[in-house]
């Protein structure tokens, strides 16, 4: 569940992007994109969420000292009376930024021209043309920062019971409880039927 752009650019001696796959056939490294990691059956992370998401925009200053840059941030907390606990997938990345202007950048990735990263594998050229396309300033220097992005999950979260330590006991109790009630019902019905059958004795 991560994507590291900083390792992109490795080429074979023939000049083609290097591609590595894991045993399941998933791409774990691609010369155009960098390193990937995957996960399955992962418990989500939980955050307080009031429905508002704050995004880090192109002209927002990045605080490198923070350790990572939030691409987005779910607002809310336990005390505002409106937030809910929300399951999220946290996607962790490593991506280019401008260390002089301290901003995120727009790289020009695909295209058959001499600035596209996937054609030339040159970050400075790709970001210069990408930033030019929106009229944003770029110092010409490129470095990489860790980023995190939260994805709200509205499906594929396993039932809460799955991770409960008391789950088995509660499952057993549910079964035993209904069995007890059913036996009581059957018992009194049989007893009542017998009383009706023998009522003239």
């Amino acid at each position: 569940m991560s994507w590291d752009w900083s390792t992109a650019g490795k080429l074979t001696p023939e000049g083609k992007p290097v591609i590595k796959k894991d045993e399941d056939g998933h791409v774990v490294y691609h010369g155009k994109k960098g390193d990937f990691t995957y996960g399955a059956n992962i418990p989500p992370e939980y955050v307080w969420f009031n429905g508002k998401v704050k995004y880090t925009l192109l002209d927002d200053k990045i605080n490198v000292a923070e350790g990572f840059t939030p691409i987005n941030h779910f607002e809310g907390g336990p005390d505002d009376g409106e937030s809910r606990i929300w399951p999220v997938k946290v996607f962790r990345g490593m991506q280019p930024y401008d260390p002089v202007n301290q901003t995120l950048v727009i790289p020009h990735t695909a295209g058959k021209d001499d600035t596209a990263f996937w054609t030339n594998f040159n970050w400075e050229k790709a970001i210069t043309s990408g930033m030019q396309s929106v009229g944003a300033p770029f110092s010409g220097k490129v470095d990489f920062i860790k980023t995190e992005m939260m994805w709200p999950i509205t499906h594929m979260v396993a039932p809460a019971g799955i991770y409960m330590p008391g789950r088995d006991a509660n499952k057993l109790l549910n079964w035993a409880g209904w069995a007890l009630a059913l036996l009581a019902l059957i018992g009194v019905l049989i007893h009542g039927a017998l009383r009706i059958v023998t009522r003239n004795k």
Partner: protein
């Protein structure tokens, strides 16, 4: 053998019984919906109604406990093993051959020995389980402030509340059935409504 009518259940007692019956049935209905057994009110509404029902029953019980102690009626629940075997024998065999009921109801002994044990079990075992687990549920947000968060887990509170609920369901089924096991099929139910019970007299 003749039939005699005696006054067993006083007016407050009858009010208490039927109000409690309605509240407990309502709590079972909403409670087992919260448990996930079916859908009637929707989860959130069921929780709110269940909470209202619980406080209603608590209020009723405050009055009932007061009544029991001021009238001395609590003594009716002092357990005895005398004639328990005769009661069990009666329900297992005698009731089918029209044998006489081994227990003679009086105003001072309105419960047969099996009832005494069953109701005492209800008061001393089932009630504490359901109330304490229910209060822990209601005041979940205060566990930390009360220093209980290290000792309690929601899973086990849920376990005991559900255990209490199933015991009440079991009690309810058997209790309702045994109301038909009086002198006649309806004599116990009539007594709980009018206060007057028909008892057999030699």
């Amino acid at each position: 053998m003749t039939v005699e009518k005696i006054y067993i259940f006083k007016r407050f007692e009858r009010f208490w019984h039927w109000a409690q019956a309605a509240t407990i049935i309502f709590l079972m209905l909403t409670g087992f919906e919260i448990h996930g057994a079916y859908k009637i009110f929707g989860f959130e509404k069921a929780v709110n109604l269940h909470t209202i029902g619980a406080w209603t029953l608590i209020t009723l019980w405050v009055f009932a406990v007061f009544w029991h102690f001021t009238t001395g009626e609590w003594k009716q629940y002092i357990p005895t093993l005398q004639k328990v075997d005769a009661m069990i024998k009666y329900y297992a065999f005698g009731i089918f051959s029209n044998a006489p009921h081994p227990f003679r109801q009086t105003t001072g002994r309105k419960h047969n020995p099996l009832q005494r044990l069953a109701y005492l079990f209800f008061w001393l075992v089932i009630s504490p389980i359901i109330w304490f687990s229910g209060w822990f549920y209601l005041f979940y947000a205060d566990w930390v402030a009360w220093g209980l968060d290290g000792y309690l887990s929601l899973e086990w509170v849920a376990f005991f509340h559900t255990l209490g609920a199933f015991l009440i369901l079991f009690f309810f089924i058997v209790h309702v059935y045994l109301t038909t096991a009086g002198h006649t099929v309806t004599s116990h139910i009539k007594a709980m409504i009018t206060g007057w019970e028909e008892v057999e007299k030699d």
